[in-house]
Amino acid sequence: MAQWQKQRSERQSRLEAASKYSDGKLVSAENTKALLEAVIRPGDRVCLEGDNQKQADFLAEALASVDKSRIHDLHIVQSGIVLQAHLDLFERGIARRLDFSYSGPQGEAIARALAAGRIQLGAVHTYIELFARYFMDLTPHIALVAAVEADGAGNLFTGPNTEDTPTIVEATAFKSGIVVAQVNKVVEKLPRVDIPGDQVDFVVEADRPFYVEPLFTRDPASVTEEQILMAMMAIKGIYAKYGVRLLNHGIGFPTAAIELILPTYGERLGLKGKVATHFALNPHPTLIPAIESGWVEQIHCFGSEVGMDVYVQERSDVYFTGHDGSLRSNRMMCQNAGLYACDMFIGSTLQIDLAGNSSTFTSGRIAGFGGAPNMGSDVHGRRHPSTPWLTAGREATGNPTTLTRGRKLVVQMVETFGEKMVPSFVEKLDSLAMAEELKLELAPVMIYGDDVSHVVTEGGIANLLLCRSADEREQAIRGVAGFTPVGRGGDRKAVEALRWRGVIQRPEDLGIDPLAATRQLLAAHSIQDLVTWSGGLYHPPSKFRNW
């Protein structure tokens, strides 16, 4: 006889096995390992919550310490491989298969583990791509998530860093999986409920608050004049030209420079209220001066940012907040906003080739994608028009009609040389060689060249929308690649012709005075200035303190 409720009965037996380690839903920190050993089975798909920001670090360490004779061959399906404990799972043989999105600091370790055969890699995803697969073929059996507070009924308050939690819990709880949450504190009454208690099976009060990385904090003190020059070009040559109001920024210093000169240079150009009014963006501290100057109407966040919670709470007209007052972030929703509602993505990259393909996978590092490929792509399902979207679409074709679809502006800001004078422009991405070495079916590309609309360097803007052939694109890219070998390999005549057509624009073509490109132009020169702008509401982590 066919069995149609195997998953439910399996879940029931696991819950029974766990019952001796819990008091209702509450589990003590000491019993956590035993609990995990009771509810997890070899071969399970496990999602250990963690991305580029928040980490269920207590549960990660507990999982890494389980008896591997009882639990092994797990399939890890999670956003971030960031903690040492995540790597330990594979080093110890507790886990074998991996599907993930982002690795950041562990990029090198993952490459080594992969080469040594300790990780069987499914794929490197973007965030929402992996989330999507949670609902198709990578549904977790077990979700280990992090929240700020829980009550006895298992309701969770995630605080400002909600991030991936609702998505992970949704996929697990509604497919007979088991959800375990680590919380900083168990309380009688929550400020707000982010996850309803009937979707949560166990709650552990961890011995420390879950870790959050301040990934989106850029110290204005480190912004260079060259980045300011690039920022001026981007504002004048792209924001103003297309009238971009709905957008997403990357995390690099060039976009931090843009944020910091909106209230000075942008003001001077008369752009306030006309550009950069709505963001899909984490609470970047460098955006504080623009917000305080009245530039920004609304921001929806993927996650929070360390030190920004009070500021966000006090600026609820700008940010999405719960009725408790604090930020409500949601990575899935915000990525969706970035995909379908933003007219522009602008961000930095480490390496870009002659076709405009870019990658952060450099030799020996598997950095992952995070959300950038979604932000930095033109989504073909979009149907609502907007001026920037239509303008870009019409530029991209010779003879537009009402059938011509619009295009998202995807802008890559590239400093021609990176650390130690390594050229950022290359004939062939490092990731191609890596793909061969690791026998990947698909070479990792962060943003595909055919999605890129503009490349901005210290040398100017290349508008790829206006290029009519692969050769033109290559010369346009070479034309802004400065004195890298790729830049010096350009055809001078072709580059000058592109400049004449406005495909390439130098600072002087944009009417930008090089003397204006100074740090004096920044609305804030230091983290401390950001604190002052915030009226003392921004509380930067101590590692950023320099006063």
């Binding site: 004049e225 060259e226 020059l229 400093e415 021609t416 040389f417 004078m421 360097t457 210290e458 040398g459 400065g482 004195f483 010096r488 130098r506 600072p507 002087e508 005075d513 090089p514 003397l515 490109a517």
Partner: protein
């Protein structure tokens, strides 16, 4: 440390009446440029002193491009450098040229 000069010809006299100017600071990854209007209108010259050796070829490319891009006739640019990137050098040269455009 390395010193050399790059000469160029110019199609026009650099505009402005300023006799001399200085811009930038010789610091790590940075450079200072002293600009003097001391040459015939159809000549230009960049004299480089750099603490980092072995990049003469790159310097010549940067300076040649600058000459072609802006034709700074009559100007001598003297550089003290401590490892500035090519784009920084270009920015400083452009800034220097721009300052010389001021009327005095």
């Amino acid at each position: 440390m390395e010193q050399f000069q790059v000469r160029g010809t110019a199609t026009r006299r650099a505009p402005g009446s300023r006799r001399q100017a200085i811009i930038g600071v010789n610091a790590s990854g940075n450079l200072e440029v002293l600009i003097e209007r001391v040459l015939p209108d159809n000549e230009c010259l960049v004299e480089v002193a750099t603490a980092i050796t072995g990049f003469r070829d790159l310097w010549e490319a940067v300076i040649t491009e600058f000459f072609e891009r802006s034709s700074p006739g009559g100007l001598r640019f003297s550089i003290n450098d401590t490892g500035a990137r090519p784009e920084t050098v270009t920015l400083r040269l452009m800034q220097g040229l721009r300052i010389m455009e001021d009327e005095q």
